[in-house]
Symmetry: D2
């Protein structure tokens, strides 16, 4: 058994009886950040990787990750086969390749019985997303999607306040993701930029898929209201680009709740401007990634409250479990990634133990949420092509 016999569902996440074995598929800064987070949790060790098909880079990756050459694979296919065959093979992989490779690699590991944590957007294609959902169902594997924004303690607290009626009936939901890194006109050819604007790799959208999906997931997650309809228009601001760098949308969440959704990478002065606002009949909630440790909670007629991390100061025990450092120390995105990897570890361990842990216990975004992101992209594309007509998200 990886999990202890008794789990205190109100308390901290339990220790496992061993570290889980993680493989890395892909590379780059995001992989590095995720690996930091996985290690931080002490529930994972990175034991294998398919870092590059280029043999020189694969070799240097081995040194960089302290891995033996024979566990640095030239392809994910080889990795899936070989690792599945080893008694000490990976329990799970993280996939951080460019979008167009998510599907094939995820399928390879799922079919090999290996659990997957995959970057978003899940796929560039809705049929592939559907196929992954089925594959997860048929294999019984755990499939997490790296909607890391939903793993900040203050987002979990927001969700809890909503669910206990703390802001009454929801009236409006607004979310936006404002960045600025693509501002310079001469930037589109930079290597870390180029693939994100290349339809062959990035898919039919750039900004929608990359950051719009984060924003949309966050709104649905925190409000517990699925996105059902939208109208969207795409924009290319500044220098011409093959794909949109900006989009605006109006949304409906379940129950015809209206809202707005927008994202751009050309908003100078905005680094991580992911901002969520949920307004209800009795109160409101506001959160900003750049001030991730704070949640503004208004109960109409009373002063605004600023909830911050720290047990007993407005943070519930269920949320406190995701706070890694003592009260008063700021936390950041690596800690949020850590929460994602901890919840993924719980789910992976439970599967191995023949258990299933409730979604109320583990907020971990699953494959269906990943597919919702692909549906969002598809709906945005359809609406934009129809000059911003309302479309259903299906």
């Amino acid at each position: 058994m990886l999990l202890p016999e008794q789990i205190d569902f109100e308390g901290p996440f339990p220790c496992l009886s061993r570290r889980l074995r993680l493989g890395v598929v892909g590379g780059g800064r995001i992989a590095g950040m995720q690996a930091m987070a996985a290690r931080l949790t002490d529930r994972w060790e990175v034991v294998a990787g398919a870092f590059s098909s280029d043999p020189v880079r694969a070799k240097s990756a081995a040194a960089e990750w302290y891995l033996p050459q024979d566990r640095c694979y030239a392809s994910f296919a080889e990795m899936a086969t070989r690792e599945a065959a080893r008694p000490d093979g990976v329990d799970a992989v993280m996939i951080t390749t460019p979008n167009h490779l998510h599907f094939d690699s995820a399928r390879a590991f799922l079919e090999a019985g290996i659990d997957v944590l995959c970057d978003k957007p899940l796929t560039n294609d809705l049929a592939e997303a559907d196929a992954l959902v089925e594959l997860v169902q048929s294999t019984g594997c755990i499939f997490g999607v790296s909607y890391v924004m939903s793993c900040f303690p203050m987002i979990r607290q927001a969700r809890e306040i909503v669910s206990r009626g703390g802001i009454g009936k929801i009236n409006q939901i607004h979310v936006e993701f404002m960045q600025d890194w693509m501002t310079p006109d001469d930037f589109a050819d930079a290597p870390h930029v180029k693939w994100r604007l290349d339809p062959a790799k990035s898919g039919r959208t750039s900004c929608v898929g990359d950051i719009g999906t984060h924003a949309a997931h966050l709104a649905a997650f925190a409000s517990d209201l699925a996105l059902t309809d939208l109208r969207a228009e795409f924009h290319v601001c500044g220098a011409p680009k093959p794909l949109e760098d900006t989009f605006f949308a109006w949304t409906k969440h379940a129950g015809e709740i209206p809202g707005t959704l927008m994202a751009t990478r050309l908003a100078p002065g905005n680094r991580g401007g992911l901002r969520l606002r949920i307004f209800g009949s009795e109160g409101g909630l506001e959160w900003d990634l750049e001030e991730c440790d704070r949640l503004k909670f208004n109960q109409f007629g009373a002063p605004d409250q600023i909830i911050s991390r720290g047990h007993g100061h407005g943070v519930s025990p269920q949320v406190e479990r995701l706070v890694l450092s003592a009260r008063g120390f700021p936390e950041g995105v690596i800690e949020a990634w850590g929460n994602l990897y901890t919840e993924f570890a719980m789910a992976v361990a439970a599967r191995r133990d023949g258990l299933e842990l409730s979604p109320r216990y583990l907020g971990l975004p699953r494959v269906a949420a990943g597919r919702d992101g692909v549906r969002l992209i598809d709906a945005c594309v359809r609406s934009n092509e129809a000059r911003g007509a309302w479309v259903e998200i299906t």
Copy 2:
């Protein structure tokens, strides 16, 4: 001559040779705030009013405003006639009645040769707005519109930064006005609320006309780019209401610059959430009414700058002229109203002196900006009726 012979156009506004005489048409808290502001400038004295058609209330108003009974009129029509006939009659009036009375009262004073500062929205009807524009032209009177938000020093500074190319070519413009005072479901019958939801008084919109016009004017004023097109949808959040309490719009400014515009009174935790963001190819500007003394200015690649009031710390002499208190003292909305009344006084005095002062010197919003607000309302109504179709603002 009311103005001095020489005006230093780079320096503070000059003194007048006498206080101008102001009449008040309407009443309520907004009239009170405006009167505070007018007095604060020491360029105006309130000498007459049509505060109410109810004789009891008109009498108590006389005491409250320290006015003789014979200058407290039972109707604006009587007031216009009588004041125009007096050698010491009002130079100008402020109109703060409910919207549906703006047109008739403004016309009465213009026709009597009396200058007007009128609340927004200018009228409930586009034809009336057009008529006022013509009447201003034919009479030569000064006609200010109380878009007070454009009179904050930091908004003037933003406009100046835009005009000198400080953020490069504009790419996007976002503005929103989020309030919460209409949140409670049982609120719609409160007397200060009721008329704002009554189409007979408020016109075809409530939220659009009341606060949407402020937001739209601010975006056009600071960017110096007129609004040309929009698509809008109206919402009634919470309790049913005869008019919208919330609306979302996408906009185009001159040159096809895309943007968003939204306003609501059901955003708990937002008191005066008027927020403007202008993003260009080289930088961005952000301003929030709730922090009116600060302007965020980002030049891409450099740290964010926070410009605050105070000469020589990033504030130009032209803007400094609108700063009333010493550096380090916060200012608020009454000071902004004061700036509006000072600029109105300059324009009124110049007309009496046979001069005209350039719009670069006096930012005072004029009747054409008022008509733009009515056009905005009209366009929003047309678009909303067409399920959010794009419409031209004409």
Copy 3:
């Protein structure tokens, strides 16, 4: 009667039956700001002044203030005599001269039976301050001191929370006033700076008297705990100066409550950094002049609350009376000055009506608070001379 027969002590301040007549003694930007504030309240009109002993400047002042020549006096002595003799003479004067002239001018008006609102520090000399206290007592005149910082609504709210035990027993009080306008080394000769560093005019201190007194009054006012002891050291930062530009102090408030007090004009990036913090056994309060509309209120174990202006959102009716504009509109220092002038008007009117209004109703700082400021200066000087020894404030 100036006041109405019935006063609703829970509601807004009542109207007076006429505007009170105000005289101006002194000039400069502070006089201008105060005059704006006095006019804003509509309870005062400026009818006379001793603006300058220079006949040319006195004449230009007459034009600037729209006053007849015969009410622009060449000296405060003449003004006191003549105005006292007129049936329509001033009810009160504001004194904004350099510090060393406060005493003589205040005495002249008090002895003429004219109420006084005097700038702080009250005097440069303790004996003079004592004499003023006695003179106020013997003449029965109203004597306000312009501790404007205590007139912000949020400070009044803080005081109210303290007085109802909202933060338990007070444990610590910290206050600081950080400015930066004297930073440049070549600044000390600028005309608006020079007199503040000249012992003949500014007295035995510069920074202590000018802004330290504001800070100390604020701490004592909001906590309702007098300052009893302190130790202080003076510093000259940057260029040599005849008087301190910076000082640090430790304080004791009544009941041996420890605290700190510090002020400087050489803190680049601080414009109006007047910050008050009061910590008790059950909670804490924090306020910053640069965000004057907000009061941070923590009840230990609960989320921080941000109280902002606006009735029914954590602001009591007694405080609401000092809020001039509608909820959601920012207010600034001129509004706070307005509150000071309104409360002064209430007190002046009540004296004329033979009434006295309770200090709980009118927070107006009186002559004793002015003397406390002079005692503070004296204690700081004594302590500094004794190398920072503890001294009693007497």
Copy 4:
């Protein structure tokens, strides 16, 4: 060789040829946080520990840390001996015991040739601190002190701005550490509180040693000006306690630069209120732990700048090296701990490679800085006993 042959001193920290082996001495939440951080860097693996002298707890620690029983020691002495004898023994240990055990355990490991990263305050006794400095010199071991606050990128940026004259000549330095966790009167007996108020474990001070040392180190580190003199008074706020919970100090830094230093744990509403302000003749710097990603930088006469993490936006390459996540993602204290562990790893690896890395390259606080903290405590105690007299820090 652990380090590569060529190091790019302007670029990111290089990879090591193997993970370094870390031992843990002590336990509790701080040990857990540090271990997260050490793992996050991927430069360390925890291979041994002396977690507890209680055999039951030692056993459970083995499971929790995934360690074999034989590397979970019952005492640090045994651990030092045995690990030193193993070919795969620990390269270094982290010491997170209560203060009174730092000296003996640090000595044991240093004498065994094992590098040490020790919690602050270094020791409870000045002679012991001196002895450690000597021992480090004689053994040649690396000795880091966990002044983690100096490892935030924005603090490094502040130091760099100071060192290049960005704020001119320093005039004043203010630092404070305000917490609130000890507020409740009935708290002093809680187990996580008790030892910190017990002189046998915490030493002669509680608040000074625990958080005052952090604050003092930060001020000296960022300004690059040693603390030379101080005067201090201790306070017990709220419930009686054996040691101070609050202290105030005035300081002098090298060159007679005046400043203030204060810390408390009874400031309700303050979680991690570590705030540093450095004011110079041409500008100022301000940083607050609760907003650790931002550095306020004012150049007098220009708008305030807010420097945030992210290469090319005001952050130098030398600082960028300490930024772990992409621009726009917030970072927190675990990332800062990670930087401490990375720099410690560099130093440890360099020693094994026979190299020494310059303090300009590695900001890692060393044993001398630890002794400065003990000297600070000693000076505070001496000054407090002398009723707040000025004392030299020696």
